[in-house]
């Protein structure tokens, strides 16, 4: 008879081994999925995971890696703080959209003024503030009215998408756009553009912000009382209350930080790689970041690595779509599968598997 026995403390070795095992298991299961779709599984896996980094055309893909990983890491770092404390912000996609709209609106308001030293920092502030305020809605509703923040933050994503459509078709539409939806392209407006810092590397200010966020959150979690309180509240809410941690304040902090970071990610995306506010601006980074946060074990360094891995599945997925005709949706299913395997294997982190040889009397 097989039974599970709770470990006194989670196993550190398993905690780091499960993400790797989950990736391997996903490759096997994903390979089966691709074989089922009539593709050569080994070739698809190689196209997704190997070619973009070390293949013949890697020089082209490597830049893309940072472009995709930047927003994922930035959002996931914010989410991980809340997830650790038991505050579930799953509406990062909406905060990402609102950050992009607020930041772009500030930039467009100054068009065509040439004062990058003033305009770009103000856009960054507006982007962060937009995401922050959008996340404050579920935050305040939770602390004031005890409303479930999971549902509210998620429902607000649909509201944000409608606002995005309205902005792209109405107030922010480019006057020179010949009636097409979408704002002016910020990349063609030097004072507001988030250009590549090193040509061909994919490095832009958003990626810099993501790395800074990784370092700051690591310091916060290991060296600062707020980080300690977050970890305490997650491990034992009762103990945290006795220690004087205000639950409401913690909810607002976690939602605020994650909202601001998601808003920043949106701003850097709209001023850089995306270029303009348009109906199809958001591509689901806010949701994929949830997987990134869990895959990275809610640990800053882990999240950074997981962010790169997820970016790889996006880029490799696009490559596999172009060269092998693998449907784009397969990558999304692939990412979901990864989270499943991770959660399933996590049983090893918290429990020991015991096999009783003797039959019980």
């Amino acid at each position: 008879m097989i039974r599970l026995e709770r470990r006194p403390a989670p196993s550190r070795a398993w905690a780091w081994a499960t993400p790797l095992l989950a990736v391997l298991a996903t490759m096997v299961a994903g390979g089966l999925l691709f074989a089922f779709l009539g593709k050569d599984p080994l070739l698809v896996i190689r196209t997704i995971f190997w070619d973009p980094v070390l293949g013949e055309f890697a020089f082209y893909y490597r830049g893309q890696l940072l472009v995709k990983a930047g927003p994922l890491i930035l959002i996931a770092i914010g989410l991980s703080l809340g997830f650790r404390a038991g505050v579930w912000n799953i509406g990062a996609e909406g905060q990402y959209i609102m950050g992009a709209i607020c930041g772009a609106a500030v930039g467009l308001a100054f068009y065509p003024m040439e004062a990058r030293w003033l305009i770009f920092p103000m856009m960054v502030l507006a982007g962060g503030l937009g995401g922050f305020l959008w996340a404050m809605i579920p935050g305040i509703l939770r602390t004031r009215f005890n409303t479930n923040e999971i549902l509210v933050s998620l429902l607000l994503v649909y509201v944000a998408e409608q606002i995005l459509a309205w902005m792209a078709l109405g107030p922010l539409r480019s006057p020179d756009g010949a009636g097409f939806p979408g704002s002016r392209n910020l990349r063609h407006y030097d004072a507001a553009a988030n250009h590549e810092l090193i040509a061909g590397s994919g490095m832009h200010w958003g990626v810099v912000a993501a790395f800074v966020a990784v370092i700051l959150s690591h310091v916060l979690l290991t060296r600062h009382i707020l980080g300690f309180n977050i970890r305490l509240a997650g491990a034992s809410p009762r103990a945290a209350r006795f220690a004087g941690v205000s639950p409401g304040w913690l909810v607002l902090t976690c939602l605020g930080v994650s909202g601001a970071l998601a808003g920043l990610a949106g701003l850097f995306e709209v001023a850089g790689p995306a270029g303009q506010i348009n109906i199809d601006f958001n591509v689901g980074y806010g949701f994929t970041a949830i997987i990134v946060a869990f895959l990275g074990r809610l640990h800053p360094v882990g999240i950074m690595l997981a962010g790169f891995l997820m970016a790889l599945t996006y880029i490799g997925g696009e490559a596999a779509q172009a060269t092998l005709g693998v449907p784009a949706a397969a990558i999304q299913a692939f990412q979901g599968m990864l989270l499943f395997f991770l959660l399933a294997l996590d049983v090893m982190t918290n429990y020991r598997v015991r096999v009783d040889v003797r039959a019980r009397a």
């Binding site: 599970l4 026995e5 709770r6 579930w88 799953i90 509703l141 004031r144 009215f145 005890n146 409303t147 479930n148 999971i150 549902l151 509210v152 998620l154 429902l155 607000l156 994503v157 649909y158 509201v159 409608q162 606002i163 459509a165 309205w166 109405g170 949701f287 949830i290 997987i291 869990f294 449907p327 949706a329 397969a330 990558i331 999304q332 299913a333 692939f334 990412q335 979901g336 599968m337 989270l339 499943f340 959660l343 399933a344 996590d346 049983v347 918290n350 429990y351």
Partner: protein
């Protein structure tokens, strides 16, 4: 603007149909939550039901077969959630989210070749004589079979939870899994059964959307209805009849806003489109603000992992 073009009788008839997917999904989730499990994957199960039902209906030419397939596919996905959370003891919130993300991905993969096809039409259930009645006819007696099924399920779930022994056990498991386990009831079995039932109902809701209401397959066509179903369970404070009320309230808002859009009222289309979500949030706030009333009927073990030691 032409508000006169809105026909109140047709509006109410459309309301009943438009509310049905959410009502079905919310009824399923109600049973799941009553057993103490929080499954946030309703959206994922609904969309998998929508696509599976659509594919089977198109391939077989039979809407009934499609509806059955939808329930089966979503129940299978729910079983995956059940095994992960109940046997492998994973976090329910994270697993539910994963279920939604996976469901959205796998559904658009499955539905690749089916975009833009019309499914076989499933006729309304025209009851003789009754459906010719002036107002009650179109509203009550010529709806799709799924509408009647959903109403029967509301009554069935209410009766099951209130008056049957199994319903009592299910509620006991949801209130205190330790006590139920100590009394010798199978926490695992009860919860797995509830989860599979909830999945099947979410799948039915999805099929209702893709086969009857729209009727077509488009990626992400559930558009947050699974999340609204979750909100409606909270709104209904875990009571079957109040969940029915919540679902019809939501259906009313969404049908009304579509009619207002069609009538060309001077409100931006986007504002009308977001109104169902905003009203759901507003209603959630009103219900939750009275903490004692909101929690009075909530299952005490909701979302907690059960691990029988020894």
């Amino acid at each position: 603007m032409d508000l006169g073009s809105i026909n109140p009788v047709l509006l109410i008839a459309a309301l009943l149909l438009a509310s049905t997917p959410i009502l079905l999904a919310a009824m399923g989730e109600l049973v799941v939550e009553k057993s103490g499990v929080l499954n946030l994957g309703v959206e994922g199960m609904m969309i998998v039901g929508a696509v599976a039902g659509f594919i089977v209906a198109v391939e077989s030419g039979s809407p009934a077969l499609g509806i059955l397939a939808a329930a089966a596919a979503a129940a299978l996905l729910a079983l995956l959630f059940g095994v992960l959370t109940q046997v492998l003891l994973s976090n329910q919130v994270a697993t539910g989210l994963g279920l939604t993300l996976f469901g959205l991905g796998i559904s658009s993969l499955m539905g690749q070749g089916y975009v833009g096809i019309r499914p076989p039409t499933s006729p309304r259930l025209e009851l003789p004589v009754l459906s010719d009645l002036p107002i009650a006819g179109p509203v009550l007696f010529s709806q799709h079979a799924l509408v009647y099924l959903s109403l029967a399920l509301v009554a069935g779930v209410w009766w099951f939870l209130r008056s049957t022994r199994s319903g009592l056990i299910l509620r006991a498991v949801g209130e205190s899994h330790e006590a139920a386990h100590a009394l010798g009831y199978s926490v695992l079995g009860t919860r797995l059964a509830a989860i599979v039932f909830g999945g099947a109902l979410a799948g039915l809701g999805g099929a209702c959307l893709s086969l009857v209401i729209v009727p077509q397959w488009t990626e992400g066509m559930t558009a947050g209805r699974g999340w609204i179903a979750l909100a409606i369970v909270v709104f209904g404070s875990w009571r079957a009849w109040r969940v029915l009320l919540g679902a019809y309230l939501f259906g009313g808002v969404s049908v009304l806003q579509l009619n207002l859009q069609a009538a060309g009222i001077a409100i931006p289309v986007e504002l009308l489109s977001m109104s169902p979500y905003l009203i759901t949030i507003l209603v959630l706030v009103i219900i939750s603000s009275d903490k004692r009333r909101a929690q009075a009927n909530a299952p005490s073990s909701l979302g907690r992992t059960f691990h029988a030691s020894g």
